[in-house]
Amino acid sequence: MSEMINNREYRQKVLKELIGELHRGKSVEEVKERFGELIQGVSTTEISQMEAALVAEGMPVEEIQRLCDVHAAVFKGSIEEIHRPQKPEETPGHPIHTFRMENRAIEALVDRIREDLAAYNDGEDKKTVKKLLEGFEELTEIEKHYLRKENLLFPYMEKYGITTPPKVMWGVDDEIREAVKKVIALLKSNPADKAKVYELADEALTKVSDMIFKEESILFPLVLETLTEDEWYHIYNESKDFGYTLVKPKAKWKPVRVDVEEKALESGEEPSNDGYIEFDAGIMTPEEVNAVLNTLPLDMTFVDKDGHVKYFSMGKERIFSRPKTVLGREVQNCHPPASVHVVEKIVEDLKSGKKDHEDFWIRMGPRYVFIRYFAVRNAKGEYLGVLEVTQDIKPIQEITGEKRLATD
């Protein structure tokens, strides 16, 4: 252990020296080799930790950034390996990453149009009118950004009871569409009416910029704390159909998930596709087990000890639908970020043995749903995971009297 720490300290020291050399004007090429040796067999996490430690010691971030060029040279250009984004929405391809990228492109376009507008205002001729018109026609691309927002983000917000902000924002989107259209029509029909063109164009551009500000400071934070990763994945998949504004996502985005089958095999669990499974009392074939679990008058979901969804039963009428894509997901990712801490607390209490089960009962339309979470332990008392059992108890609660005869 101490050797490891010393090693780490040593590497830290060398890293500092390298930054010093870069600072004194050595080229990337010159330090590349030593850096390559230094990080051999060192995880990218440790490298970023080392850098963070240097910052904590007071080294200016700009100095650390010099290292980026070296990373790039050593890792053949993949800085992302080290500077792995901390938040999902910072991953290229994530719908919010794409929305933000579009906003940067729209901002650049607005700046350009503003320059053209100033030129037009100073001395109007055919050329400035044409440029201005081209700019605004390009701006109509914003439609795709708005369509994705309105058709992909808003429905999910409404699902979580956030209804007013989307309604208000949609209204403003429509105003912007209208304003841009009006400018284009005016430029085509009567470009000489400078005062009018200027007023309308200025108003339209201001509205576009204001909307970007609203998206970035309200909409995105709000949806990021509300939607689950699975919902983001759905949004991601649907996005292509609407298209993108001015820029396209550069990378495919995939939520983090574990292949449950592969994980089981790696940990030495054998698949038993034929033969019998021995239980505490009796034996069954895998086919029988599957059918029996699906026949139970309740829904089950099993999350393994590492928090990955490993199994769910497929009864006829599931109360909470579970897409198969949920398998292998960390259970935290299947819940809205705002309720994640509740889920984590339950799992923690069951895992630690503080509780054996935790129950909830909620009304859902005509149903009265009883949701129970059980800690699953083996004979030795070792924790294996959490079993969620849900059941509509309304029909059971309604039972009175006796029924002794079979129904015809």
């Binding site: 956030i162 209804t163 007013t164 902000p165 208000v168 204001d210 500000f213 609203k214 400071s217 309200i218 934070p221 709000l222 704390e225």
Partner: protein, 79 residues
């Protein structure tokens, strides 16, 4: 007790801490503050500073008003 205004706090957080801020903010032009559907959603994520920028209300004016109402506002926020 000292009442401290932090303009980088969320609007919802601010009015939860100081319910009397609702009236002050409404008078300053944040008319949506009395709409729970807006306060509980937009107010949850937007800071007073950003809300002011969005509404076109000068931050200085907000700070002055809160000072007049007996709030303490740290100097650094005035910028």
């Amino acid at each position: 007790m000292e009442r401290l205004l932090n303009v980088d706090q969320t609007v919802l957080g601010l009015v939860q801490q100081y319910p009397e801020a609702v009236e002050i903010l409404k008078d300053l032009g944040f008319e949506n503050i009395t709409n729970p559907a807006m306060l509980n959603t937009v107010g949850r994520v937007i800071t007073l500073r950003k809300g002011a920028a969005m509404k076109g209300i000068a931050l200085d004016k907000i700070i002055r008003t809160f000072r007049d109402m007996g709030f303490t506002v740290r100097e650094e926020y005035s910028v």
